[in-house]
């Protein structure tokens, strides 16, 4: 019998037709849309005189540009308001389910999909956002698409895709104290570079990955795109089923049993072949932080910024340009550098487990006076739970400012901008130039490291704060 990977099984089950010497006509089970990458797609549908073919397969929420204060009021920024209103208009016109600002399930699209149980094993899921890879944590093929493809999905429920190559990344062993799934993925990206998985779809496997919660798995799959992979996925298991059971859109009753029986087949067969296989030992992974302007530029927080030894040409020029932007020098330690802002949130680390970790860490401490600390829950549901668990009170006591759900300072489309030249240690996913505001300097890290930085006001090893 043919040995297949998990990825092959799901992909092949969704090919409507293979175009000779071309891509596959690829069927999409679920489509998420938001206010920024959908308006032009709807506009083009109108120009073509066609509608939305399967409205029940699309779910919408405004997240990218929404304010994180006073969400009950009219959005002040005119352009943001227009995009959100356009989304409302289009959803009403075509009968698309919308989780609007202020509603019970409003939030970042990649947080609410799993929360609602829309995201399920074996599915194909797309959204006009590269962090759609998050949903791969459930054993789904999920990836980001451009607006032309959003239009295709709305019009036909299909896109034209060439099948990517397959990579398996295994992580084995127990994680050390103070090391989180964010450190795992930052470590992997630092090892293989921001382009190391371009052209591939990644399956994450191994005992370390299996031991992670769904929230932690989502953090890993979320950042697959940061090493160039279209997406990453993890085979579903009991952890997945426990998370999904009872969710609004999860199967129930007999359907649940049937679904689990099918989901149990979603495994990579023993002996299946990958185009590339990589293995890492959990024992080598320590708290990580980025020092440059792409997510591949990461080091252990205790390490020095790499020197330019062995670099030449445009490689060296680009490296120095990046350090110049950050205001860092090759070879210097990163520990102890002063920080101005911390941001806890985003589709990478804006879930309840992340907020819990920060709250437990800062309980009984105060943030440093020099630090502005923003905490932005990924969804209303996360916000509600954080309140119910008393986490909000702990965080506010420590001097954190709790905001309302949205993408917020991860990409700074709203007013949550880090000022030019200031340093932010952030739980988000991208440290590109200007990502958190023009001239802002971003260092990516885990929620624990961010919590430690909030308390000391400097780049800090979270394990040190633990000891004190």
């Amino acid at each position: 019998m043919e040995k297949n990977t998990l990825f092959d099984k799901i992909w092949d089950a969704h090919v409507v037709k293979s175009v000779p010497a071309g891509p596959d006509v690829f069927f999409i089970d679920k489509h998420f849309i938001h206010e920024v990458t959908s308006p032009v797609a709807f506009l083009n549908l109108e120009k073509r005189g066609i509608g939305v073919k399967y409205p029940h397969r699309t779910i919408a929420t405004p997240d990218h540009n929404v304010p994180t204060v006073n969400q009950d009021q009219t959005i002040k920024d005119k352009l943001s308001r227009m995009q959100v209103e356009k989304l409302r208009e289009n959803c009403a016109k075509y009968g698309i389910e919308l989780h609007d600002l202020g509603s019970a399930h409003h939030g970042i699209v990649h947080v609410i999909g799993p929360e609602l149980g829309v995201t399920q094993p074996g599915m194909t899921i797309v959204c006009g956002d590269s962090h759609t890879s998050t949903h791969g944590a459930f054993g789904a093929i999920a990836f980001g698409i451009g607006t032309s493809e959003v239009e295709m999905v709305l019009a036909t429920q299909c896109i034209m895709q060439s099948k990517p190559k397959k990579m398996r990344i295994s992580v084995e062993g127990a994680l050390g104290k103070g090391v989180t799934s964010k450190d795992i993925i930052l470590y992997i990206i630092s090892k293989i570079s921001a382009a190391g998985a371009t052209g591939y779809f990644v399956e994450y496997a191994g005992s370390t990955i299996r031991s992670l919660s769904m929230e932690a798995r989502m953090t890993i799959c979320n950042m697959s795109i940061e090493m160039g992979a279209r997406g990453g996925l993890i085979a579903p298991d009991q952890t997945t089923y426990d998370f999904l059971k009872g969710k609004q859109y999860a199967p129930a009753g007999d359907d649940w049993e049937k679904a689990v029986a099918y989901w149990n087949t979603l495994r990579t067969d023993d002996g299946a072949v990958f185009d590339q296989e990589l293995t890492f030992d959990a024992v080598d992974i320590e708290p990580m932080i980025t020092y440059g302007t792409n997510p591949g530029m990461g080091i252990k927080v205790v390490d020095n910024i790499p020197t330019t030894e062995g670099m030449e040409g445009s490689n060296k020029t680009s490296y120095l340009k990046s350090l110049d932007y950050m205001g860092f020098a090759p070879g210097e330690p990163i520990l102890g550098k002063s920080v101005d802002y911390v941001f806890v949130g985003s589709c990478t680390n804006g879930r309840i487990e992340d907020i819990r970790a920060v709250a437990q860490f800062v309980k009984g401490h105060k943030k440093a006076d020099s630090i502005t600390a923003w905490i932005v829950p990924g969804s209303r549901e996360v916000e509600k739970q954080a309140q119910a668990e008393g986490l909000v009170a702990i965080l506010e006591e420590a001097g954190f400012e709790l905001r309302q759900p949205g993408c917020s300072a991860c990409l700074a489309m709203n007013d949550d901008k880090i000022p030019a030249g200031k340093y932010a240690v952030s739980t988000s996913n991208r440290n590109f130039e200007g990502r958190q505001g023009p001239g802002a300097r971003t260092l990516l890290a885990s929620p624990l490291t961010v919590a430690a930085v909030a308390i000391t006001g400097r780049i800090t090893d979270p394990r040190e704060v633990f000891q004190n």
């Binding site: 409507v16 037709k17 000779p20 010497a21 071309g22 891509p23 006509v25 069927f27 920024v36 990458t37 308006p39 032009v40 506009l43 399967y54 540009n65 352009l79 943001s80 227009m82 995009q83 006009g128 956002d129 590269s130 980001g144 698409i145 451009g146 607006t147 032309s148 493809e149 239009e151 295709m152 019009a155 036909t156 429920q157 299909c158 896109i159 034209m160 060439s162 990517p164 921001a194 382009a195 371009t198 795109i225 940061e226 160039g228 279209r230 792409n294 591949g296 445009s314 020029t317 680009s318 990409l411 489309m413 030019a420 991208r430 590109f432 130039e433 200007g434 990502r435 023009p438 001239g439």
Partner: protein
Amino acid sequence: MAYDKFTILQSTAVPLSTENVDTDQIIPARFLKATEREGFGDNLFRDWRYDSAGTPKADFVLNDSTYSGKILVAGKNFGCGSSREHAVWALYDYGFRCVVSSFFADIFKNNCLNIGVLPVTVAPAFADKLFAAIAADPLTEVEINLPQQMITLLATGDAESFDINEYKKDNMQHGFDDIDYLINMATEIEGFEANR
């Protein structure tokens, strides 16, 4: 939507050898707030092109009148990061019809092909040759021949072939997009959907 056909392009080229240029640099997020696909070229490479007061930065290649053309020769891992198609809209709107690099990010490359900007992947050595030739003579012309799948430095005749699948090649040459193809498959897709 349909775009201009692409067959043979002869043009001078603009060099941007920086590596890992992400789509946040090509078009920063704060310029994604439009509800129509108009005017993105004005904000192409906004924060590299202009300072915070809106004054052009003299050291950025798009502000250097020595260089111009419809071809952008870019450093490796061009277009990484966000899936925003607006990055390609900005390149197209500015006047670029082709981007040449030794390595492209996946989603960016797909987005290019979907709106009629041809991504041409060359060997790193050929990319170096292009950068050197443009530096030596900014008026040197490059030919992109899509039917033949060849890129040529016209002054020296140095040439290399490039890959593109037949389906996308045909689309580019006729200005078709995928949606036309998919709409024609409606019956097959309906049958498939009914069984899911």
